[in-house]
Symmetry: C2
Subunit: 136 residues, 2 copies
């Protein structure tokens, strides 16, 4: 039995992990593809999707199913929350400490076996808040 299964560290997987770890932007699969392609020009988009999914299943990275039409990925796997700009779609971390005790509350008030939770704030980021700034 292993949740952290022994997945083979192919060159593609290594580069995907490294590039994802470099950024704090919670990139989409396509954005990861673009980053990775600079180092592995022949990699396929399917490989990126397949491996991001696989790494998320193995707990090596997080798959964020936030608002908007695309899933996003996060190299930081400890429980933390996010805010999404309704203007431009960017996703940033929210720094205050997580509240794992919420899971117990949810378990008490439902018939589910609760596995976890995520909080997604929405708002307007600095660039979108200040159109003058953007025009300059």
């Amino acid at each position: 039995m292993q949740t952290q299964s022994d997945i083979r560290l192919t060159p593609q997987r290594q580069v995907i992990l490294e590039e994802l770890a470099k950024v704090k932007t919670h990139p989409t699969a396509n954005e990861v593809y673009d980053m990775v392609r600079k180092r592995l020009p022949r990699i396929g988009l399917g490989t990126v999707y397949r491996n991001l999914e696989l790494m998320a299943d193995n707990g090596m990275i997080l798959k964020l199913e936030v608002g908007g039409s695309q899933k996003r990925f996060d190299a930081t796997t400890d429980l933390h929350y996010h805010i999404r700009c309704t203007g431009c779609g960017r996703v940033d971390d929210i720094q205050f400490s997580a509240m794992p005790q919420l899971d117990q509350l949810a378990a008490n008030s439902s018939d589910y076996q609760v596995l976890g939770h995520h909080i997604e704030f929405s708002g307007i980021c600095e660039s979108c808040d200040d159109p003058q700034e953007a025009k300059k």
Copy 2:
């Protein structure tokens, strides 16, 4: 100025609203389409999408951008939280009281103008937890 703008209550919109209000299941656009079609057999799927979107923009209903590949809709607009079954995808309400003060916390720890938040729990629903039950 009106957030709750004066949207015309066409027969299509009325039926969409009524059918959505009937259920507690947070249906997808397609599921709403199926419900509505029993009363308005000639309605177009595009009309359902267009009006669900418009009603959500006007605060008449909620659009839930939860995990999974489809958006879901909710006739209950006051702040409350949801849990999604990772087995079958169903979405239910979580009954404990909302925490609007979280928005202030998020505002303090970010550069965003915070507009709101949503909490999505994940877990296993009763039917999915009990395969025997499902087989019967």
